[in-house]
Amino acid sequence: MQAGITGLGCICAAGDSLDEIMPALYSANRNPAPSKRVEAGLENLPPVFEIASDLNHINPGNDETRTTLLLLSAVNEALSQSGLEADYLKKKRVGVVIGTTVGSTLNNEPFYRAYRAGKFPDMQPIKRYLTNNPALYIANRYQWDGPAVTIANACSSGTDAVGMAKSWLRGGLCDIVIAGGSDELCRTTYLGFNSLLNTSPEPCRPFDKFRKGLNLGEGAGILIIEKERSAQERGAKILAFVAGYASSGDAYHPTGPHPEGAGLSRAINIALQEANARPEQISFINAHGTSTVDNDKVEGKVIEQIFSDKVPFVSTKAYTGHTLGAAGGIEAVLSVRALLDGQIPATAGFKDFDEECKVAPTTNNTPIKGNMAMSNSLAFGGNNSVLILKAGQ
């Protein structure tokens, strides 16, 4: 069984759809700035990659969370590309697996402030939380009755979602899977990452010697994944295959990566094995590349160990910011598009080589050879997840 990707959808600060996003990436266009929506009592507001729109046009008149609206936008785009019609989907077993962080957390601050102040707030924010679990929301909205799972695995959630989709198809749990991630910017994550001192006061510079940390972002990235045979039967074009997925823990520290990247190395090697690929067959890597001191150092070291300097790599977080639970979904989507385009963008912000990182990311739009992309995600708590995507014929 091969897991074929037949639709892609994405929304992030670089654009509302892939047709907007890819040109922005290839022209190294980005504009992180202090948030217009998320207020914070900090003197210097770390810039973020924020979507300007209030998103109300996506599902007017309803009370969804921003995470849900982002998700809906990407799901609609991906479904439309896949050519899957509602009637057809009703006859199939459709699963939904979505990564998120904010979308699974009850941290409605206005509600909690009112509660603390003894104002006895009403239950609406809690009800909204209970009806906006990302995967369940989509499954209920479209009345699909395949498995529906929300993954809250911090920054690797979206990657893990794509891996789970592959596993579901392989195990025969469903015919089609809507997989990816969605996350909105909010005060909790903004202040949380700020308190960890890993947000950058300037636009992020993945793998650069003078990088100062990450910029948070928001968005959603969705892939429609189906069994190769059923996609062929309905005459759909398979854009790419999920060829390999692996995940491996550092078991090292609650917030920092293992200094030698033990878990990441293991995950990359297992994913390569599953994809039946040798390192030199990988066309490019979409790195986790958050632009924090520790992440890029460890990730660069591992990339150098396994791929020497033969495989070009990019961090698309230079254009999307770190979208947490959505990151793996967005980066898988962008990787497939880049595979199809035959090129990867420059890593905006990177200028100065860092010996500690050992390798340098792209500095220009870079043509790629071959047909396999790798996408890395390293999470809080030491989970490392790796996807290998192979272009369709």
């Binding site: 957390t105 009850l106 509660y115 239950m123 809250a152 596993s167 909790t188 949380g192 030491g382 997840s385």
Partner: protein, 361 residues
């Protein structure tokens, strides 16, 4: 599908360790129910809360390593240590042991504690430690660090559908050969805000959960964590194995189970779906009055099912005791180890997860 349950650890309102769960089933121990007063616009309202505490964690982990570990994390840690100890296995290659946990609500108290730091002291004083612990996967990361598990790590959260997806994932990992063993766990914790929302959802003047009164609101919040060490080989404890997991909506397709455990917990919005269920000839049991109401409740039923298969006996539903006791199935009933037990949980939309355990090899 065949994923054997090799060891179980439980932190429930009955106590810590699988033997405390057994005492509860046999009726020799009662759950720890603490009465809280929930302040509402109508004044203070009493709310009994099923309360758990991870006692004896320092047997496994030095006190100074616990300084940043919150109450919920402690429950996950202790039940995990117990599950591995219960299996009697000496786990060598820890890169081949995965961990998949699920929680309906996540670390609620720590999420609010984090908000407290910025509300009390300003946005610049948001606590990084509390932030790190407030994310749902802090359970998995801390347990994987404490137990040095270096296989795949995953945290799932889908309210009432959480347990079925956790067991489904664990089974898939074993079947695909991604891991030799997988530590599986589910749980939820209580916090004040949950108490407030419980009262506002209609649980006023509730003194006991009556899970089979499907259309009444008798929900009382509970908390705890249950962990399972799972593998492909036959476990020496003979807890049986997960033989199938189904998800869907409406009425589950039912094979002939020996028994059906319903995770109904007095919550009316999910209760109506159990009420619509066409009951087969199987014996129905409802155990939520032992552990309290929570979205991850089904995982506790899985532990009870494993225990029942091991002992070859079905325990009575604890719903009403003493003089009120129903005559239908008051006694322990013998079953065969080779029988199967299905654990069913619905969400408020009528989606279900059905986890079937069997003692058959």
């Amino acid at each position: 599908m065949k994923a054997s349950i090799l060891g179980i650890g439980t932190v429930t309102p009955l106590g810590c360790g699988i033997e405390t769960l057994l005492s509860g089933l046999e009726g020799t121990a009662q759950p720890n129910i603490v009465e809280h007063t929930v302040e509402t616009a109508k004044g203070g309202i009493a709310l009994p809360v099923y309360t758990s505490a991870a006692e004896g964690l320092d047997r496994f982990i030095p006190r100074n390593k616990l300084r940043r570990i919150d109450r919920f994390l402690q429950m996950a840690l202790l039940s995990s240590f117990h599950a591995i100890e219960d299996s009697g296995l000496n786990l060598e290659d820890r890169t081949r042991i995965g961990i998949v946990f699920g929680t309906g609500y996540g670390p609620l108290q720590t999420s609010f504690d984090f908000l407290d730091t910025l509300i009390d002291d300003g946005d610049k004083c948001a606590s990084p430690t509390l932030f790190a612990n407030s994310v749902h996967n802090s359970l998995v990361s801390n347990v994987s660090i404490a137990l040095k598990l270096q296989g795949p790590c995953l945290t799932l959260t889908s309210f009432e559908m959480t347990s079925s997806s956790v067991f489904s994932t664990a089974s898939a990992w074993l079947e695909e050969g991604k891991v030799d063993y997988v530590l599986t766990g589910v749980g939820d914790e209580y916090c004040e805000v949950r108490g407030y929302s419980t009262i506002l959802s209609g649980s006023e003047n509730v003194s006991a959960i009556k899970p089979s009164a499907f259309n009444d609101c008798t929900y009382l919040p509970g908390e705890g964590f249950v962990s399972f060490l799972m593998g492909k080989e036959k476990g020496r404890k003979a807890y049986g194995s997960i033989s199938s997991i189904e998800t869907g909506s409406g009425n589950p397709v039912k094979p002939d189970h020996s028994a059906l455990f319903l995770a109904a917990n007095g919550d009316r919005s999910t209760g109506c779906h159990y009420d619509n269920l066409q009951k087969g000839k199987d014996l129905t049991r409802l155990y939520s009055p032992l552990y309290g109401g929570m979205p991850a409740g089904q995982g506790f039923d899985v532990a009870i099912a494993a225990l029942s298969l091991k002992d070859g006996r079905l325990y009575p539903s604890p719903e009403v005791s003493g003089a009120e006791q129903k005559q239908a199935e008051p006694q322990i009933r013998e079953i065969l180890h080779s029988d199967s037990i299905a654990c069913l949980q619905y969400d408020d939309n009528g989606n279900f997860g059905l986890i079937t355990l069997s003692g058959k090899d």
